[in-house]
Amino acid sequence: MSTLLEVSGVSVSFDGFRAINNLSFQIGPAEMRAIIGPNGAGKTTFMDIVTGKTRPDEGRVIWGEKSISLLKMSEARIAREGVGRKFQRPTVFEDQSVHDNLLMALKNDRAPWSVLFFKPKFKDLARVEELASEIGLSSELSRKSGELSHGQKQWLEIGMLLAQEPRLLLVDEPAAGMTLSEREHTTDILVEAAKTRAVVVVEHDMEFVRRLNCKVTVLHEGSVLAEGSLDHVTQNQDVIDVYLGR
C-alpha cells in the first residue's frame, strides 16, 4: 500500500529537552490509526510537526504521491495540501454563527481576493446543511457558536474538519467531555471518514480506541515504543511497564 504521510527520523528538542526522538511514522491514504502514550510522550508535538507549527531539528516529513516535503511549508499551506487538525480543546470561532464557521471551513479558494468576492453557491449551502445534520447541529445553524455546549463545540469542530475535505485528519482527544452516545456517534463519523482518507486519533481512553478497531502506535519519550493491533500492543511488556501497568 502506498503511503500518504511518511515521517522519518524526526527529532526536536525544546531547551535541551528531547520532545521527539528519532520518530518514524507512516500512514496510508485510507487508514485509521490511533496514537496512545502517557503525558509528555510527544503526541501533541508530533501533530505540531506535521501541521507545520513546530519545525523539527532533523528528519523528514514526506507527503502525498509526489513525495513533497512539508517542512518548508507554512501552516496555512500545509492545511491547503489537505492536512486537517482538531485541537484538544474545542476551538471554534465563538463570535460567529455555526453556519459561518462551517462556511469558512468549507473547501474553497483561500486567497484573499477570491474570498472577498465569494458568494456561497447552492452547493456550498447544501453542503453546510448536510454537514450540520451529520453533526446534529441543524437547528443551531444561526446561533453563535459561543453559545453551544462543550460537546456541541466538539461536534462543530469535527464538522469544520470534514468541511475542509482533508486527506489526513489529525484528531486530538475527540471524545473528551462527551457522553457515551456522543462518543459512539464520534466513532461512527471517524470510521466512516477513514474509508476515504487517513485519520490519526490521539486518545487516552482505551475503550474509545478499542471501538475504533484499528492499528495502534504507542509513543513513549518521543519515539515509537510499539505498533500493531490494540491486543498486540497491550500485551507488549514495555508498553505495560510504561503506560498500562501504572
Binding site: F87, R110, E147
Partner: protein
Amino acid sequence: MKNSFLMRNPSILIFLGLLALFTLAVTLMSEATGAGLISTSFVKTLGKTLCLCLIAIAMDLVWGYTGILSLGHFAFFGLGGYMIGMWLMYERTRQIVETSLANAEIPPTAQEVVDAIGSQIFGVVGSSDFPAVWAFADSLTMQLVLVVAVPGVLALVFGWLAFRSRVTGVYLSILTQAMTLALALYLFQNDSGLRGNNGLSGLQNLPGADAIPQSVVSIWFFWASALALGLSYILAAFIVSGKFGSVIRGIRDDEARVRFLGYSVEGYKLFIFVITAMISGIAGALYYPQAGIINPAEIAPIASIYLAVWVAIGGRGRLYGAVIGAAVVSLVSTWFTGGQVPDLPLGGYTLKWVDWWQVLLGLSFVLVTLFAPKGIGGLIDLLDGIRSPNRHGAALGPDSGSLQEREARE
C-alpha cells in the same frame, strides 16, 4: 432578496440616510449655499470631522475587525495630506510667480519659472532647489495617485515585514508607534524636502480659484468629505459582511485556528493594513486642504493613539460606532479647546477647560473601557434589546485583540 447585501446590513441605509440629511442640513445653513446660519469656519470643522470619521472607519477595520491595534494610521493620514498639499502649494505658487514675472521685460524661461517657484517654497528652509520627492508636484493626477500609493506602499512594506515575522499584540502596536515617530522626526528635518517643521501651508487656497470665496470652497470640500465617507462606509461594510469578514474576525479572535483552516493569515492582515492605509491617505488628502496647513506635528504618535481612543469610545467592531466615536470626541474636543466652554471657578482654583479637557478625555476613556466596553455604539444595542452573552468573563478567543465578553453581542 433576503440575502442581498443591503438587507443583511440594514445599518448601511440608515447611515447613508443620516449622512445625506446631515449634508443637506449643513448645505442649507451654510453661508455659501443657504441661510448663513453656520460660519464658514464651522463648515470646515464639520468637513474635517467627516474626514476623521473616515479614518476612524479604517481604524475600526484594522483594530475592531482584524484585531491589529495599529497605532500608526495617522502617519498614512498625514502622508495623504502631504501628497495633495505638494500639488496645491506648487500650483498656487506657480500662478503667483507667473503673474509677477509676466511684467518683466524679457519673458522668463521655463527654468527661471521653476527656480522662482523653488525659492518661493523652499526659501523658508534656506534652499531653492526642488528635492526629488517633488518630481510630480506639477501634476494633479500624479499627486492624487500618490495620495493612495504612498501610504499603500509604506503599509505594504511595513506590514509585510511585521506580519511575516509574526509580530502581534502590543509589540506590533509599539512597532507602529515607532514608524509614525520615525516619519515625524524625519519630516521635521529641514532637508527632508517637505519644508521641515514649517510644513506646507496655504492649502485652503485652490489654485485658479482665487475668485471663488472660501465659503464656497469649504462647502465643496464638505461635500467631497461626505461622499468619501459614504463610499468608504459601503466599502468597509462590504469587506466585513461576507466570508472575508468571517475570516478577519476569526483572525482577531484566534489567528492560529484560521491558519490551520488553510487561510494565509499574513496575506489577510496585509490586505486589511494596506487598504486601511489607503483610506487613511484619502481622508488626509481631504482633511488638510480644509485645515489649510500640514506640518510634521500632525503625525506625532499621540494622534494615532487618539484615533484608537475615538474608536474605543464609539465602540469597536461596528462601523457606525467608529464614526460616532470620532465625530463626538473630535467635536467635543473642538468645543472644549476652542475656549467656548466657560471656566469653572472652584474657590481658590479656576478650572480652565482648555487645559483640563485632556484629563476629561482620558477619564472618559477609562470609564468607557471599564463600564461600557461597547462604547457609545452600544446604546444602539440597548435600543435593539441586544445583550452581551454570559460567558463568565471569558473572551471570545485566545488572542490579545479578541472581542471581550462585554463587547460581544448575543
